[in-house]
Assembly symmetry: C2
Homo-oligomer: 363 residues x 2
């Protein structure tokens, strides 16, 4: 489709075109029902089927162990920032919760948790502008804590945890908003994994929470009902009217992912997409990557231009070629290319070629 | 469009067909941008414009006084059930909040509030099966309470407050989920009005909160950030990534409402729609309305069939004519026709005619 552009925004991000076309096709008449999927009850058979298929597909694609539950929660990852301590701090008399500060949202998650529990920040890369993931040895992980929270991929700075820390008996909780389903993960390493949908999975306004079942049942009495994981699990995420549109889109995105060959195939494509951009960045002095090489994200490629005042020109010329939303986060500046699952290699190749040409002209 | 059916479900409910067609048309290419409106940042100019237009349209359509703020909150009315005491109980040292129990959701709202404040139920129609709205004289309204909560329209039983109680200096808060924008309201009578969107306004998963500005600033310290009205107001409802799809649909629905002549014109149509159904119910003994006549809703018309075992047949034959989702709520049984703003008179007329014919055949 010639009039669609490549959108490198950090989210809400582009969705797979086949998914968008499918939504459009069945918009007025879902499966011959004469209504849209968003115009029927969340308790109607046709919607429950969508919800169950989404869960089954996710389970299949991730090889998720049986003792993990899949929840759809309102409000995105930011709402889960509040829900985590409300649901889990009560596991330990200390109400101590550990946070690894590796970026902006990691910090915001800890700040929110301070309302509800005893937060201890175990590592921080703030001093280095969050350009890497510090070492986190087991001895830094207090074994009387309710959980350790990490941010798997740091959207703004373009860093990620390549391997995950050993935590002893403390459950590891990961915010994977900007990388869920982008690489293979052994879920058994985690107590819970969660993600806002608006990057790899669907529209904005909802989060998926994957949680080991022994972590349910500890919610504080003052937990708002819709933030209570145990209640959500009991009600199959239908304690109230869920965001039916979002669940429907997730299901379509998961089907699309399956057609692409699943998570392993997608990871390979994502590695190739990222490698292509990092190759241009590393080839010469014109561009400078923000993240340290050994902690580079394959979802968000953040870099600066060495030439003074060239960034605005870069962004404008990129737009002229249909390469959109490349502006870096305000606190970092420069350029950020978010290349989530739905971004095809051809879009990345277009960007890489443009980067090479721009460097040749101005370098 | 011949293959669309009439969906009388209580919500998520049908949306205006012109709105649904507009969404479909611009789905892959919003205003020539080459992406969908759900694929761009919530901070992009094109989205902010949608958000601001939605607010401006709502203000214009409701003649909303300047000292009321418009907020978009995640999670629907049920999330607001938690947010209300968290935001408002702190206004009074007593932390006393008054609730009028006129139906199922009115009761659920009070139950949720008990987690966060001192709930006092001032009236209840539970004993009569919630078939009416009890009198609520000023002397029942403790003047040291933080607010009085009512449910404007009770979806399940089909009752509504025709006039609103005098509350002295206690702010009146109304859940108007199933009737917002269906009738003219003098907002100056209220401290706050809120509604889940999935009935008159848009898709599920979000609520609008209209709140008088002097009620901001009292949130408890333990309020989850995304439930904090003051924070939402400060951030123009963009503390995190909002449900951009929902805001977009609301804007289109408000434009459609304006084209219909606004709230007064819509109220007139709604009165006529409801009157047509109640006329059939009252004409003979075959049907029996659930709500007392003087408290009848114009949004949800709930009734029983007097003939034993005829309800299932009624529902089946209705479906055969394209009249869907008429089954009454499980605790009440019978039939419920939800006739929100988007339900056209022609759909109601079809239902009324079917009811008359069914009664003639089986009466």
């Amino acid at each position: 489709m010639t009039d669609r552009v490549y959108n490198f925004g950090a989210g809400p991000a582009m969705l797979p075109e086949p998914v968008m076309r499918k939504i459009q096709e069945e918009w007025l008449n879902y499966r011959g029902m004469g209504v849209s999927i968003i115009e029927i009850s969340h308790r109607a058979d046709a919607f429950i089927e969508v919800l169950e298929e989404a869960k089954a597909l996710f389970r299949e694609l991730t090889d998720l162990p049986d003792n993990y539950r899949i929840l759809f929660m309102h409000g995105g990852a930011r709402m889960v920032f509040s829900a985590l301590p409300l649901n889990l701090a009560g596991r330990c008399a200390t109400r101590k919760c550990l946070y690894a500060e590796t970026g902006n949202f990691a910090k915001v998650a800890a700040q929110e948790a301070q309302k509800f529990c005893q937060v201890k920040t175990v590592i921080s890369s703030a001093a280095g502008g969050y350009d890497h993931i510090p070492e986190l040895p087991l001895e830094l992980i207090d074994q009387d804590a309710a959980y350790l929270h990490i941010t798997g991929n740091n959207t703004i700075f373009g860093t990620r945890w390549n391997t995950f820390p050993e935590t002893g008996k403390v459950p590891l909780i990961a915010d994977m908003t900007s990388e869920l389903l982008s690489r293979r993960i052994d879920y058994r390493r985690f107590g819970a994994v969660y993600a806002g949908l608006q990057k790899n999975l669907g529209p904005s306004g909802m989060a998926m929470v994957i949680i080991r079942d022994d972590l349910l049942g500890f919610a504080d009495a003052v937990t708002p009902t819709l933030l209570d994981f145990t209640q959500a699990d009991k009600d199959n995420s239908l304690t109230n009217t869920t965001n039916t549109f979002a669940v429907y889109v997730i299901k379509l995105v998961l089907e699309w992912l399956q057609e692409q060959g699943g998570v392993a195939a997608m990871e390979e494509i994502n590695e190739a997409k990222a490698a292509r951009l990092y190759q241009v960045i590393d080839d010469g002095d014109f561009y400078r990557g923000i993240a340290r090489k050994d902690h580079r994200s394959i979802m968000n490629v953040s870099f600066l231009l060495n030439g003074d005042g060239l960034t605005a020109k870069f962004l404008q010329q990129a737009e002229d070629r249909g390469l959109y939303a490349l502006k870096g986060y305000r606190s970092v500046g420069g350029v950020r290319a978010s290349i989530y699952n739905p971004m095809p290699m051809v879009g990345v190749e277009k960007l890489a070629t443009f980067m090479e040409e721009f460097a040749a002209r101005h370098g």
